[in-house]
Symmetry: C2
Subunit: 296 residues, 2 copies
């Protein structure tokens, strides 16, 4: 690994992973790709990636091994059952960019440390758009050594910030998701009050621009509430999973988070009773309408 | 009134009103100023304002009469008991930029319309900083005629957007305040989870910049929670008043707003039981700590 060109194993080249790997290639890094459904990794070969049939093969010789898969068990399986941790060189950084539980990230870090590998949990925010643009928010938890080694690679995909020790990256992601969930809830209340009070919700969003209440949720999710477009985006079943994980982590620290708790109940109702599982999380609007006996 | 230079009566030149009137003067409008405590209006004389002892005198000959006072009863008193509505020329726009209840704004508009005057409710967001910079968000409710007549004047103080008929400007302001209140609540939960989970809250705010969870509340109010600086800013007793008004307006439309309702209870507890009345609204953090048996 030179100062700025690394050999990177990229494990999990799905909706998010593929554009992220593509940005690594554009930045001049060598990419060794693997995906459970191999065809998705093969698509990257034309752009210069080397594709492997086994995850452990991809990890061999890598300076940084990135995992980008569905959940904690999938990361644990790759690293320890499929032999990725062992196959990676000693001193390599195993950087998990999936969204998993903080306690899983801490467990992974302990096991990797015992095996002489560096661990970094570095989940992202910004969606497929951010992945394509290379503008992801990257929330990193781990040692300074692991962060410093991975940062030049991460910078090709977005903006890495070290937020604390192992697990803190996943904790930051949960903070992000908890804020998003509750902000959707209150934007829905504002849009409903606007509509029923005889004002123009779109004009109100315009008027509030740049003020204390403004943000992406008001502008983008608020617009979805007005137009009734709930194609995901961020499906509500995943929003609910994030809320569950937030409250599990909070409970582990003895914390009560009343707003997040109430969003767990309401997203739960939306997902289970109101056919909301696959609808965008801005669809919580429909749950608020239902509470109020109103239609969309 | 020429296309862009108007005669403006400015009634209420306090903390917000004075810098707003100053921007009218800078833009070349003639300003006829009045304030209950006259000394505050006198301070504007050096900058070209004409100062009057009675509000009705200031209103005489004005194209646009702006009221910027504490609440609905104060506006009603000025317009109808102190004779401002009658003193203003027929066809003048009486533009109330105070934050009052939507139903008060609708009542004022009806009475002004009956008297042959135009009404606009146009409350603002952005605080004294926005007032000084001339960058206020101005949420306007009223007829198109009233808006079109007042807009060139309002533009000297900020960015006017027509959001609906009379009362809609005040409704938009309540939407703004409701979003702010609940966003403070959830940012507090995220900052608490970050702190107790061993991450660095300041680094998390940095990492979340530009993402879905980002906004002024996360950055500014979130920082106050970390540093413990609760000098207002926006005092919690006023935040509570806004929440009360939001729920009163919601009830008038038969609406249930669960998050705003829970913020009423919690800001109420903070103001009444936890010495929070004069503390900044970001001080809701202290209420969350108290719920969790924790210290600042």
């Amino acid at each position: 690994m030179t100062a700025d060109k690394a050999t990177v194993a990229f494990l999990g080249t799905g909706l998010m992973g593929a554009p992220m790997a593509r940005n690594l290639l554009k930045a001049g890094h060598a990419v060794r790709a693997w995906n459970r459904t191999r065809a998705k990794a093969d698509a990257l070969a034309a752009e210069g990636a080397q594709v492997f049939a086994a995850a452990a093969e991809a990890a061999a010789g890598a300076d940084v091994v990135i995992t980008m898969v569905s959940d904690g068990p999938a990361v644990l399986d790759l690293l320890f059952a499929q032999g990725v941790a062992e196959a990676a060189p000693e001193g390599a950084v195993l950087c998990d960019m999936s969204s998993i539980k903080p306690k899983e990230a801490r467990e992974i870090a302990e096991r990797l440390s015992a095996a002489g590998r560096l661990a970094l949990d570095a989940p992202v925010s910004g969606g497929t758009k951010g992945a394509e643009a290379g503008s992801l928010a990257i929330m990193a938890g781990g040692t300074q050594e692991a962060f410093d080694k991975a940062a030049p690679v991460l910078s090709a995909m977005g903006r890495p910030v070290k937020v604390g020790p192992s697990g803190a990256g996943q904790l930051a992601k949960l903070c992000n998701q908890a804020i998003v969930a509750s902000t959707i809830g209150v934007v829905a209340e504002a849009m409903l009050l606007a509509r029923e009070g005889g004002a123009d919700p779109a004009a109100i969003r315009q008027a509030l621009k740049g003020g204390f209440a403004d943000g992406t949720i008001l502008q983008q999710h608020g617009e979805r509430m007005t137009t009734g477009d709930f194609a995901p985006g961020g499906p509500s079943k995943l929003q609910l999973k994030d809320i569950d994980n937030t409250l599990e982590e909070a409970a582990a620290h003895g914390l009560t988070l009343p707003m997040t708790l109430s969003m767990q109940e309401r997203f739960g109702r939306f997902v289970r009773d109101l056919d909301g599982a696959e609808k965008d999380h801005s669809g919580l609007w429909l749950e608020l309408l239902d509470q109020n006996g109103l239609e969309g």
